[in-house]
Symmetry: D2
Subunit: 366 residues, 4 copies
Amino acid sequence: MAGNSFGDLFRITTFGESHGAAIGVIIDGCPPNISVDESFIQSELDKRRPGQSKITTQRKESDTARILSGVFEGKTTGTPVAMVIPNEDQRSKDYSHIKDKYRPSHADYTYQMKYGIRDYRGGGRSSARETAARVAAGAVAKSFLAQAGIRIFAHVSGVGKIEAPNLASDDLDELLHIRESNIVRCADPATANEMIDFIDGIRKAGDTVGGRISAIVQNVPVGLGEPVFDKLHADLAKAMMSINAVHGFEYGSGFAGSEMQGSEHNDIFVNPAHNAAGLKTLTNFSGGIQGGISNGMEITFRVAFKPVATIMRSQQTVNEAGETTEITGKGRHDPCVVPRAVIIVEAMAALVIADHLLRNRIYDKT
Amino acid sequence: MAGNSFGDLFRITTFGESHGAAIGVIIDGCPPNISVDESFIQSELDKRRPGQSKITTQRKESDTARILSGVFEGKTTGTPVAMVIPNEDQRSKDYSHIKDKYRPSHADYTYQMKYGIRDYRGGGRSSARETAARVAAGAVAKSFLAQAGIRIFAHVSGVGKIEAPNLASDDLDELLHIRESNIVRCADPATANEMIDFIDGIRKAGDTVGGRISAIVQNVPVGLGEPVFDKLHADLAKAMMSINAVHGFEYGSGFAGSEMQGSEHNDIFVNPAHNAAGLKTLTNFSGGIQGGISNGMEITFRVAFKPVATIMRSQQTVNEAGETTEITGKGRHDPCVVPRAVIIVEAMAALVIADHLLRNRIYDKT
Amino acid sequence: MAGNSFGDLFRITTFGESHGAAIGVIIDGCPPNISVDESFIQSELDKRRPGQSKITTQRKESDTARILSGVFEGKTTGTPVAMVIPNEDQRSKDYSHIKDKYRPSHADYTYQMKYGIRDYRGGGRSSARETAARVAAGAVAKSFLAQAGIRIFAHVSGVGKIEAPNLASDDLDELLHIRESNIVRCADPATANEMIDFIDGIRKAGDTVGGRISAIVQNVPVGLGEPVFDKLHADLAKAMMSINAVHGFEYGSGFAGSEMQGSEHNDIFVNPAHNAAGLKTLTNFSGGIQGGISNGMEITFRVAFKPVATIMRSQQTVNEAGETTEITGKGRHDPCVVPRAVIIVEAMAALVIADHLLRNRIYDKT
Amino acid sequence: MAGNSFGDLFRITTFGESHGAAIGVIIDGCPPNISVDESFIQSELDKRRPGQSKITTQRKESDTARILSGVFEGKTTGTPVAMVIPNEDQRSKDYSHIKDKYRPSHADYTYQMKYGIRDYRGGGRSSARETAARVAAGAVAKSFLAQAGIRIFAHVSGVGKIEAPNLASDDLDELLHIRESNIVRCADPATANEMIDFIDGIRKAGDTVGGRISAIVQNVPVGLGEPVFDKLHADLAKAMMSINAVHGFEYGSGFAGSEMQGSEHNDIFVNPAHNAAGLKTLTNFSGGIQGGISNGMEITFRVAFKPVATIMRSQQTVNEAGETTEITGKGRHDPCVVPRAVIIVEAMAALVIADHLLRNRIYDKT
């Protein structure tokens, strides 16, 4: 059973290789009558697009999504929404030198062993280029969520050992403005500058570095999540871990919470609205999710990305014949993926929330 | 779409509430001709069973699984394997005091809001008692994996701020022996003693504490994992995050890896066997998984558990009417879940690996 | 991927062999707050139960379903509903003579070849005894549908070459009364008598005979069915074809419709309610389904059952060693399955409609 | 849960509307290293293409499929195969007269009620144009099956009351040659002529007529099919019933078998090969499937198509406002769908068999 679909009711299937004709996605299960604005989809893709700044890859792709179906006169019809993004700048010859070599910490070896064949150009299907399709689908999911007032915000909260302070605000418009004012997409301006300088130095040294993205989801209604396996945070975890280079996920108190005691960790319920449907908690170590179900508080989670594997230095490796050889990164690569991954994290979160919003519709308590 | 099934080809569906008649599981997709040994299933359940030691809950349950179908003359037949574990020690009256109160950091509130009804006795379906069904299914999965030589080992690597050193050995028999020699299930004897003393103090103080479990999987063949969404580590993440009280997951270098640089993080391929199918890497920051597919190295991951929410102290909360009230833990609860959760982590890992072993069978490269 | 689950949102998984400890079912996705009446479940099981009359098998099974989970104080809670039906009258020794022989037109040979092992007692998993689990689940589905006013009625419309006239009424209470007044479950009394005499003669001759069941579903809202693959009639077809011994399915005009011309076959819309949501059609060759979606008219379909394979006569066959041998039916078998299959057809239809009722909830046109 | 995917392991998802930009399909789960020949895909599409003869619609579509992904140097790579077929001859203005009218026995009314919006041009998603995507995917499935020696053959066995005799041969090359020598695609030349004359007369009268397609699958290995719900014939039934205009399905003895007695219907096993893996049956009323699992004999089934709903005559109907109105067919429509549907039946059968071939791989009896 191949694994190119995500979601159960709001379900996407992506396709495409880095240097094939195109990448794209089908959304099956998008509710009808959702307004789809192509300029919004494009603005989302532009945040993931290569070539944005000195700290991202210089590959040139306009990343223009074309809608082939499922939208009629600006609205979804309830039928599958297919979107295609042609590949333009396919410098496949950049990859001829790795045709039969297994790049360290890449997927060359495992793809070859699993499938017995691989499209080696630019990593083929294993390339993070596939995530553009996720961003396009995420833009549609966000349009659906916007109708319910749900908003998602992610930013770069860590690069290497640099860590941003907690968010200074819960005003997403304000945070978004700060984030988009700097090329590393950190919502704290001072930390952003520090991160940019650090990444630029890493880049000049021909190296790469990992980082972390923190995200919040506001205005999620109580009730999303399907115990016992499809807990909301379990599906968020899978969504995030499926993004290229992700090595860790935590929500709410996360790993730090595992060092705490119950008496300090428990979130005490209060009722500011004197309405059981609108309970709040004094703290939010639960990250907005209890028993796998959203409790109406802000959902919070954090994602860890390993350093990019392609470095501009010579490394030892092995070729398909099993012989030891050397390899040096060519092509156009990011020194740090997190600035471009912010929008991917948001897209995957939007897809998870959209899916669970639909899944929760089957409960009719009236 | 309800969420009580896990896995695609080796698929389990669990049922049952904490104080209902029984809990249980159906495995659909277990291959035929697997030897199923009821005493092995029981020995696994005994590791999760309540009442094992002074640092676990005193609820008395023999947790005896009865196989109802799918096994004939000691072997699986390829038809669904159903197992039922009756509930015995249901002191439901322990819970009458919480019938209409929302316990802090429990699932009472979210279940009530989602479903409009809940079995409040012992947390109903949200109780970790459900995980006994997972352990029974995991035992069958382990029997299947054993035929392929695959072994899984988990142990308690952290309690509160106490952290165990790295494993001193990769000999699982030896590690298992050490682990089962202490009641906290840590593979380092000295750390185990420290943890036990700490948990016992926490218990006496009427409090609880979180912890961490580390796991390894040995002898996994190259090729398990289904990009781009069903990456092996993404499915492991979902499996672990679906266990009660889990707040974080990381594999390979994890969060620490996000602080590293590519030049130090890349795992260099070597070929000790002079055989491309048996490549090794000098380091294993990839945690045995590259591009979402197992690479033949040891798989490593770590799971963070929050402190148990039920504490033996008075806490403020809100009742169903929206009124502020107080609540004090009664019943029989664990001061720290990780000693009993070790076997649950192993069971869920076994289910993920078994599922992907079957999923990988569809690739016939001959 | 094993195939023991049915339905997507209202999803059942059955288990159990003819002569194992028990058979049973888990329903995952049953909405909460549905009243579940055990006596209704039992009354449904009684209609499928063996030993009802001279024209059914004499195996004695009380077929008592026990609910293990998912129901609290008489109502579903939204968690999995597990039901178990113990096997009582397991005369396994009746089957020792066929242990290594492949019975003609049974599943002995195919199960042995597929799985490499089989529980030969009573046909094991391939026995129609499994359908008792479907009936129990169908009873819960019917309870859910009853809340929406939806009713299902099936009856024996054909045995051998005997064919019942069209239904004389659309009053289901009246039809049900007639049907349950005769042991063959035909809603036309005169035809029923003819069928009973015919089946009794067949039985005395040690032979068996096939038959047909016709069904209608009333009060289905407009909108159920999910094009392009999960059309309502496509899911009904799969449901019916999955019942033991079924060889054919048709809905609306069916095979006869394929002989007609468009000008006579088209169903003309009229608007008696002067309300577009309540259109009717003058004829109903569409069988209540257009483009795979229910149109609010009565849904009609028909199912063909082959003759039971076990006959009380000597037949030539082959054993596991590949040698030609003889076999004579023993055990207790039905001369014609349709009288007992009526309730199975209803159960499967209820499961399909319940599933699509939930699937249609994701469309929120408000 | 939307329904635009089919298959579990060899899984397709189709998209596109009759008059949108394009239609297409993603295949997820196609095994790697399958040779994909674009000219073969095209030759299959040409058999479904409109405008082939005087008895098919005159819409002009070249129906050229472009492969966007999943194929590298002529072979599948195990990643998703996406194919797009642009729409060319979209005379949408032909449909402005039906914009707000519900055509009799079409899906206009049900789509509008279900989704609250519809692309009325050419029937939008409900148009049989969607089946071109199925044929493209079916061609890839056939390429996969060809490697296993499995072949599928369908032909028009009935039009109106005209019925072809049983196939005169089991040589598929010969049958294919006869079928493709006449425009109605019947494997019996004399009946073909009769059918063509009849359809041509129907067409001149502005009317339409239904028909039947019979199919066989040769060289299917023993063991395909997953009881108890995903029986091979149950999945074939769903596949066929999901094709536009299909009203009935039967396999093996079908409806006629339900009139027979067990003593004549049972298929007697013989062992010409003196090898239990290669048993044959003297008759094949089972249609090559026993207990839902293929038994190695030829698989046989038959599909009934209703007459096309669009006729060139005036009909009464109702508009969106609920008013009675008249409608007359315009556009370019088929007088009888079965000649073009033959290749769709083959495609869907190929998809089912391919899916089950993969599903059966999880059983490793070695």
